[in-house]
């Protein structure tokens, strides 16, 4: 975090701490501030879940309910002390989030939020109709929290507890997002395909985000139950879930500061509207939902990024990370590359059909160690499809693919990546809004081991330094060292392709698959790229590339495979291919 915004953060925290000591501050303000802190903890979870991992949940109030009911039942019925129920509440919410996530999160796009609506409504009615939850009457007589013999019974003490937990949640969340696992979560927004191709288990990353958000919600619920001293299903219904989502979106989804800002705004505005609107309309009711609904619609129509980015622009941000020296980090370990002459990739009889369309038809070729092979052919020849088959993005309809001696047909993309297969994409797939260097570091995902917990607790710094040293090294190799801290999506298209190559090199690949790497590059950049690829080859890495720029291909590759209409047309050295009549006809039409 840059220093001006860090200073602003510390100033706001100092104000929050000083609030109860300011003479004349009404006790009611402290109560509202406590509600803000509790809501902000939930909203932080949504920032991770929705803003970072791209998973929309309309069910966060349900997880708040899990936490609240867990502690309510344990303290009132079994005499547990409130301090002891917090870990249990987190555990139960986490386990339920994992279970629900395992069922729900595999769903594509819109099914997932829809399913969370169903879960939340079911929980609401379940709690409202089972004796175990005391039905809609709810559970009362919940004791106040006491920590180490210190009773948190008055408003100010509770406020400090809630504030403390909020600060803790903020710091842990920030650390988590700045770690290897956090980068994996952030990569979900760049599309599952690219993430999986670098060995990231996107399903797991989504579940992790879901569990994390669920656990944070449970902490808030635990606080809520002991603050209210009585609970019923209403504050855990779908409408409240929508309020939490509104907080995150209004503040700026994906920004941790935005989540807290949104929680504050929504809580204060609701408090005011609940007094104002019934008086204005002359009847009682929850009319603030009208205003909230309309505000949420307007935000998404006119400022979908929320308030936070506008606010932050006022405290001009500087680059977030000082680049570590590329040389002072320990040298990264290297894969043992196959010796010259060994077969790295063997494809035989490869076939792919989409319904009646045969996209790839009986294609066979090999790539030897330390060789650059070009896969060429007119548009629609099946080149990119072949790439997707080799990297496991698409399942083949027939044929065999082997890496070295290991058959990999039917393997998922991330397992193939583990063997040292790295790729770039025809349509660049970088994570928008993430810095260039973080994007490149994604390529290093498989070579790190730090868990989410280590990341959140900052026990992963040595590994992170090594990852970033390597990322900087590869970025320098493609000539973009100066752009490390730029936002990836703001680079020119050709530069984005180079970032993809740096990311692929970060995987320490045995085989590099490049899909149109030279498209969008200027002549001098193409020359530099060809030089780089030769150096990569000379270091023992094999390269398979699809490219339309024939000068580039002919000058660079050792061998060519020509495809047309899904079928293999010819194979051979570039000079031979240039003379091949079948190839000439495919490219230029019949000479006759």
């Amino acid at each position: 975090m840059s220093s001006p915004s860090r200073l602003a953060g510390i100033a706001i925290l100092a104000l929050a701490v000083a609030l109860p000591f300011v003479p004349g501050v009404p006790a009611y303000w402290i109560t509202v501030a406590s509600y803000i802190a509790m809501a902000a903890i939930v909203a932080l979870g949504i920032a991770v879940l929705t803003g970072v991992a791209g998973v929309v949940s309309f069910g966060q109030a349900m997880f708040v309910g899990f936490g609240a009911y867990t502690t309510a039942i344990l303290t009132t019925r079994y005499g547990w002390s409130p301090a002891a129920t917090l870990p249990v509440a987190m555990l139960i919410a986490g386990a339920l989030a994992w279970g629900i996530g395992a069922i729900t999160l595999r769903l594509k796009g819109h099914y997932l939020p829809v399913a969370t609506i169903a879960w939340n409504i079911s929980f609401f009615y379940l709690a409202g109709s089972l004796d175990f939850f005391r039905r809609f009457d709810g559970i009362s007589g919940i004791p106040p929290i006491s920590l180490l013999g210190f009773s948190v019974s008055d408003g100010v003490r509770f406020y400090f507890l809630a504030l403390g937990l909020l600060v803790l949640a903020y710091v842990l969340t920030r650390n988590l997002l700045d770690s290897r696992v956090g980068r994996a979560m952030r990569s979900l927004r760049g599309g599952a395909l690219a993430a999986e191709s670098f060995g990231i288990d996107t399903g797991r990353a989504r579940i992790l985000a879901f569990v994390y958000a669920g656990v944070l919600a449970a902490v808030s619920g635990w606080l809520y139950a002991h603050f209210q001293r009585a609970i019923n299903p209403t504050p855990f219904g779908i409408t409240v879930s929508i309020d939490y989502l509104l907080m995150a979106v209004a503040g700026g989804v994906g920004h941790l500061g935005g989540a807290i800002l949104g929680a504050g705004l929504v809580t204060v505005v609701r408090d005011k509207l609940q007094d104002l609107l019934p008086a204005l309309l002359g009847t009682q009711g929850n009319f603030e939902t009208i205003v909230f609904g309309i505000v949420l619609i307007l935000i998404l129509q006119f400022a979908p990024e929320g308030l936070w980015p506008h606010l932050r622009r006022r405290f001009a941000s500087k680059p977030r990370r000082a680049p570590p020296g590329a040389d002072d980090a320990p040298a990264s370990r290297r894969r043992t590359l196959p010796g010259p002459g060994e077969t790295v990739l063997a494809v035989s009889g490869l076939r792919k059909t989409f319904g009646g369309l045969v996209a790839v038809n009986d294609v066979s070729f090999t790539v030897q160690a330390g060789e650059i092979v070009g896969l060429i052919g007119p548009n629609g020849a099946g080149k990119s499809t072949s790439f997707n088959l080799i990297t496991g993005v698409l399942p083949a309809s027939g044929g065999e693919i082997a890496l070295g001696l290991q058959p990999i047909s039917g393997w998922p993309a991330r397992r193939i990546a583990r063997l040292g297969v790295a790729r770039t994409f025809q349509h660049v797939k970088l994570v928008h809004g993430m810095s260039v260097i973080d994007n490149v570091a994604l390529g290093r995902h498989l070579l790190g081991h730090a868990s989410a917990v280590r990341g959140a607790l900052r026990l992963d710094r040595a590994e992170e330094a090594a990852i970033f040293a390597e990322a900087h090294r590869q970025l320098a190799r493609v000539g973009l060292a100066d752009h490390a801290d730029a936002v990836a999506s703001e680079l020119a298209l050709g530069q984005q392709r180079l970032v993809e190559i740096a990311r692929a090199l970060c995987l320490d690949p045995v085989l590099l698959l490049l899909d149109e790497p030279a498209a969008g590059l200027r002549h001098s950049e193409k020359v530099a790229l060809a030089d780089l690829l030769r150096k990569v080859r000379d270091s023992g890495v094999s390269i398979l590339l699809v490219e339309h720029d024939m000068d580039f291909v002919m000058g660079l590759t050792d061998r060519l495979v020509v495809m047309n209409f899904g079928a293999q047309l010819a194979q051979g050295r570039p000079a031979e291919i240039q003379q091949n009549p079948a190839v000439l006809e495919a490219y230029l039409g019949s000479a006759a």
Partner: protein, 345 residues
């Protein structure tokens, strides 16, 4: 439980299912044409039912004011989306469509309501008041962000839902209403007591489904909507305006929602927020149909209705839980069925 109870439960279930099927069709229609998951379809159910109830009581329904308000919102939405190409003619069209038409409807309704016209006129008036709201909602809320992702559209849709529920509370108050049956005929078939209302519900549903089929299969506008559903860009290239398709889709959803409310209100008391739960059941059916298949959604609606009916007999308190949890095994099958890595938009 014996056979006769079973038959009664099935009859109840199928009657409710018909209404869920209607809503499911509306949801599939709106989703395929505009990619909006139209959560507020349930509010149209409430609006339809409560509007009819007001007519029965000889009162001017609160939806009339709501119609005027939404008309103004629609005007603002259109002014915003078409701000590049505004002309005097365009302004006049917008004024007529969003201000004059609702005003005329309001005048007509205010004049007729105290006279307690015959039931069929009341039903038509209720549709006349509620259906245009679908169009205004589209113009003001969804059209300005027509190109946003499905997820953003869904959040907006849910936001619209909570706003409309709040407005329904303002305009209708917290009391519930029940309308008189469309038909009070009844007869027994063996041991089964069949009400005219059930038959009216089933009959009207079938007629509406048939009408939709003819509309989509035989009319140019219907075909244009189908083209938009299959490929928005392609439809645009051959001159089908997405805004036009969107308006038609939302108008149809408004009519279907309101009609669902009119059909269900003699069967159960409708409060300002009842429509949401009814709409969600249609939603469960639409989801089972993958949000794209009309026949699957209609079939799933029958499943939802019958399961609900039996659940309310065996475990009445848990019936909502059971109905909404039907979705889980279905989604499980869906998610394990498809394993292809695919990037979402």
């Amino acid at each position: 439980m014996d056979l006769s109870i079973g038959l009664i439960l099935i009859q109840d279930g199928v009657t409710n299912a018909a209404i869920y099927a209607l809503l499911a069709l509306a949801l599939v229609l709106v989703f395929t044409v505009t990619r909006v998951i139209f959560v507020p379809v349930g509010e149209f159910v409430s609006f339809g039912a409560l509007t009819l109830a007001a007519f029965e009581a000889g009162k001017v329904p609160g939806t009339v004011s709501l119609l005027l308000v939404l008309g103004i919102a629609g005007a603002l939405g259109r002014l915003w989306t078409e701000r590049q190409s505004l002309s005097g003619r365009m302004l006049a069209t917008i004024a007529v469509e969003t201000i004059v038409v609702p005003a005329l409807i309001a005048a007509l309704v205010t004049w007729l309501a105290p006279h307690k016209p015959p039931q069929i006129v009341q039903v038509l008036l209720a549709l006349l008041v509620v259906a245009p709201m679908g169009v205004y909602v589209y113009e003001s809320v969804f059209r300005p962000i027509a190109e946003a992702s499905v997820l953003v559209l869904l959040i907006v849709s849910v936001a619209l839902h909570i706003a409309l529920v709040g407005l329904a509370l303002v305009f209708f108050g917290a009391e519930g209403s029940r309308t008189t049956a469309l038909s009070d005929a009844s007869f027994t078939l063996g041991s089964l007591f069949i009400t005219g209302q059930s038959l009216a519900v089933l009959g009207l549903t079938l007629v509406l489904i048939l009408a939709l089929y003819v509309f989509f299969d035989r009319t140019l506008i219907g075909k244009a909507l189908r083209a938009t559903a299959v490929n928005r860009v392609g439809a645009r290239l051959v001159g089908i305006s997405p805004a036009f398709s969107g308006r038609i889709a939302f108008a149809l959803a408004g009519i279907i929602g309101a009609l669902g409310g009119i059909l269900v209100s003699p069967l159960t008391t409708i409060y300002y927020d009842t429509g949401f739960i009814i709409g969600l059941k249609g939603f469960v059916a639409a989801i089972i149909g993958g949000l794209v298949s009309y026949p699957l959604a209609a079939g799933a609606a029958i499943l939802v209705g019958v399961i609900e009916s039996f659940a309310s007999f065996w475990a009445s308190e848990l019936k909502e839980v059971i109905v909404f949890m039907i979705i889980v095994p279905i989604l499980l099958v869906r998610s394990y069925g498809t394993q292809v890595l695919e990037d979402e938009e």
